[in-house]
Symmetry: D2
Subunit: 365 residues, 4 copies
């Protein structure tokens, strides 16, 4: 029932900047590759939290007028990954509620595995859920917490969760970042003048001119307010467990993820692939865009020329109309077209970053 | 006054296919890089011409329902290039009119240099223009022609034009392709089973599974109907004059343009650049996406490694909101981000396909 | 904080009709005069409750496609009255939630005076409210009820309320009607073949061809399901207290309200006004549309001719743009225009149904 | 082919007012009953003519922002009557063109009976028509006129027309009013301070505080510019021929039309009906709203009480969804509901203003 496949969402947060929602907008734009279904920003000015979230791309959702509805010096933002059948606005993030502890907004990248169990317990006790997002359980735990202050209420809530969660939370006056004790999903901490920034990938820091400080550590809760940054470690230590798809598929090559350059990791994987499996070839061709780094490493290691023998159409929309009289390999052709002068009569090694079931790869070949 | 800068528009036409408007849709999708401002399709069924045109991308404009409004076995389509200040629906194409010769729709890639002069003459004689597109003069010449049949009326009209024009025209029962005698802009002829296709670039043939036959020749008028294809050469011979920007900037590398592979031309230009100007370097970095072919040629010729040290954000929208507190080189940063691990401490040769004024290149450097 | 001024909303419910949502649509259309801000319908098919609600008029919100999204044999609907500053979709009704007792939707006409008090108590216990409607407290009481079945849970919830409430509730398989023990707001029960209907005014019964059975009694809870209609009287008896504005202003003259014909009540009020206050006059002029019944009674009683000396523009929109160079009595002129040939040189008695502050009446005079 | 049934459109024009487009908006609002399909305003500032026209009601089309796009001291406006199958934006008015005489916009109430014939002649000569409105021929005649100035060109154009035409035309600096020599349709002239106003009915003068001067005379062309008002009579005299539907159906009772009060004409028709056809009755009931004046006259003449025994729902939309299980007399019931306490057991005389085929009247009875 819960909506489980948003592992690749993008999360951003900023505290202490005069144009916090504009910075969030730029950050989300850099994280657009982590989710194109919906996006949203919540901002606060010390008194009140405001929210805008819609279906679609960051550049289409936000304009000057929309960002003016989001004043204040702190903000969080989210880009959501599209999964079939669950594409609706109530599942978009941030989710904003008002409760006994005041207003709070949340952005989540990951998958809370005990969400169903917690939800059932809360519903039996009279809670009303508004979405089928696993993220909403965090807010209901928070609303029911009898803790003396909002920080204790957050700690009480997140320590009940198991699974993957890199969270950015926003109250009227505080930005809170949380990363699960396994460190499944990335979350970086940066600095922009006096402002603090958290984000899924460091490419979001580059665009706004912020500097990378460190990762939010696995199991760490960071609370940022007018009185500065405070780090809490409320989780018992657990073995680290980074998601391999971050490095081979989700992240941008210009990002640092889990403390390493994505480009270097991918290029080195290409080199290793060459060392383990090299075959004689005339030309190495990447499947754009994700296979480029690995193909570069493979070509370098084998000394074979790298050529862009497949051209990707970057204007592909969400859905595509196929003729009744079917075109062979239509789904692949819509995205990729071969450059005949590069491929014709050559022995070609095609390099991609990852294979899931191999059916698409077979068609491309 | 006239709207002059649509040199890079995409033109498509098909005759004799049961799903003509769907093929036009796919063709336009392949030609989306030649214009993202507006797009449109006109189709005909032997009796009546119908039109849909809107602002925006092909994938957003057309869905199943829209294409069902466009029945028939012949169709033409157009993608229009965005130019500041002239972005309005009445300038979108195809333009469809009804006149004494019946309905006719037109798609145009190029720039008619004597359009102002013809327009002024026609207005003095009582013609009412609906747009400020230079293309509209062709239709008014046609509507006023006293020629005995529509083919003669088209020939009479287009032979009065000077400048660049690759045209696709559609009547209730015929598809007509016209290319100016200089051959400024490309126009290819293809075959898909029994159907005939014309298009600005051959990548549109690849997607629909059509085969490339030949170029529409400079100065040629091709008329396609139930009785087959007929070629007319009504223009006096003029020196050929292909636009250099087609090969270095406009066209997709997987297309054939002016009878040559765009990829090969660009790669060879990179090789020549290396032979003429090579400097010692540790790494060759293309400015994506247009510089990739030339960088490949340059790297090969010099034996220096090719690395993707600049990552392009493919989600950039039409407009972008800049913070009040300006970010240095914001316009470039929004599109491109450096991969530090590739560039740091290296001697880098940056390769682009073309330089207009060099101001952007300076910022990228 | 709560949104208090929806006394004049329209409520409709139907159980046991093959086209339940279409009947609700027609019912709401008849009750459109009770609220033009927003409207909505929730329907159920024994298994699942579905909801459509939007800002605007019934005729603009619902079309064939929208009603097809609302299948099933039972439905409730609501038209909401517009009050300044509170016009937003989250306050539109029906409100639909899912909770431990399953899905439930609610429509409310009235004003719950202890809503703030109940809400504060529930928030302290961890409930998360989604709107600032007083109606939402009913749902939270229901979700937290530990009663053995949904009927007991409803009774437990509504008996905690004080104030005015005529409610229609919908679960997957039952329609429930509730009227507060004072009977502040009307709620009628009708029959259409085998189907049961509840509605704010009997004009909704007329349009769908249903017959009037009786009022839902003050303090009565009616539960209608496959096993028939069941009446519960869980409230202690309280003095009746009908709202006078129903007869003089809110209701349509062709409705029966509180068991009496609205037209007869208003006409009789006009007659009494004549008996109490008649002055010599040449012509009696009603302020359309609400003053027509009373003016008819007044004219009859005094034997003075009734003439329509003020014409109302029925196309007045929600907002109206006034010129910078102000027009005298603009707000009145926009709605009403005098017929000079009726009024000029005559002694005129103007009749309206009610006066609130008299400022508009002064301008009309 | 031509779109013939817009006899009931509303026309408005103003010259010499600082808020010309706002006055046109108010005028159109008063004339909304003459056409609810589409509306538009063209304004001019001495240099340039601008146009906004859309489908729908005046109050929905225009807001502050839209009216700011229409600056200048002169304006014309139009409300168009809805006729099945022809409801499209290109037939909306004003129609604005640019031609050898400069920009001109036109609004038309009436029906040009030789439009087809003129259109065919112009198309043979090379004119391109954009709509299937008969009004467009006036513009093509004007664009082709070789007259020395725009006034002569207008006179040359309108004197070629036969049929019904009350026109308002707008150039960059002049307002022109034209009425056909038969005087089929009304057109009134008014004064607002120094400004001149023309409009279909005088109720438009009342709202903006203008005074009624006289009718634009049958066969008169009025040209209003900075140099004042000039009257031309270019048509040969023809017998007057007012459309009877103006007084009995189209116009508002608070208007003067053809120099007479609509209310007085209708009331007198009711009196005459009583004198010619009176039958014994207990109550006289008007069919609202158009039958009210006649019923008042009839009731007065016969001395029988007038009662509002049918209530009209003023929220009826353009289309209405009927249940599959048909409701008897649904089309009538949607608009009208009987007041049982008035009608039950009484001898009723029902009064309407006009009968076309009598099928609806039969259902109402």
């Amino acid at each position: 029932m819960l909506d489980k496949l948003h592992e690749a969402c993008g999360v951003f947060g900023i505290f202490g900047h005069a144009e916090a929602s504009k910075m969030a907008y730029l950050g989300l734009y850099s994280l657009q590759h982590r989710g194109q279904e919906s996006a949203g920003i919540a901002s606060a000015d010390g008194t009140r939290v405001r929210l805008v979230r819609r279906m679609g791309h960051v550049a289409d959702i936000f304009d000057e007028a929309t960002l003016e509805e989001l004043p204040g010096h702190l903000a969080i933002g989210h880009t959501r990954y599209s999964t079939a059948g669950e594409s609706k606005l109530t599942n978009a993030q941030p989710i904003l509620i008002d409760c006994v502890h005041g207003q709070i907004a949340i952005c989540h990248n990951g998958n809370i595995v005990n969400a169903n169990e917690i939800r059932e317990r809360l519903v039996r006790a009279g809670s009303i859920f508004q979405s089928n997002s696993d993220t909403e359980v965090v807010l209901h735990l928070y609303a029911r917490s009898q803790a003396a202050n909002f920080v204790d209420a957050i700690v009480e809530s997140v320590t009940q969760l198991t699974g993957a969660f890199s969270l950015a939370l926003l109250t009227a006056g505080h930005l809170i970042a949380v990363r699960d004790p396994h460190g499944f999903r990335p979350l970086a901490l940066g600095r922009l003048g006096d402002a603090w920034v958290v984000c899924s990938e460091t490419c979001a820091l580059d665009l706004i001119g912020a500097t990378y400080v460190r990762e939010v550590e696995p199991g760490e809760v960071i609370v940022i307010g007018q009185d500065g940054l405070r780090s809490i470690k409320p989780f018992p230590p657990l073995p680290l467990s980074h998601c391999i798809f971050e490095h081979v598929y989700f992240a941008r090559p210009d990002s640092e993820v889990f403390g390493e350059s994505v480009n270097e990791v991918r290029t080195e994987l290409g080199r290793r692939l060459a060392r383990e499996t090299a075959v004689p070839a005339d030309v190495i061709v990447p499947i754009p865009d994700s296979g480029v780094c690995a193909a570069t490493g493979y070509a370098e290691e084998t000394g074979t020329p790298l050529r862009f023998g497949l051209i990707r159409n970057h204007y592909v929309g969400r859905t595509f109309i196929e003729p009744a009289q079917a075109i062979r390999h239509f789904g692949v052709k819509v995205k990729l077209n071969p450059v005949k002068s590069i491929l014709a009569g050559q022995r070609v090694v095609l390099i991609d970053d990852s294979i899931v079931r191999g059916t698409t790869s077979r068609k491309i070949v």
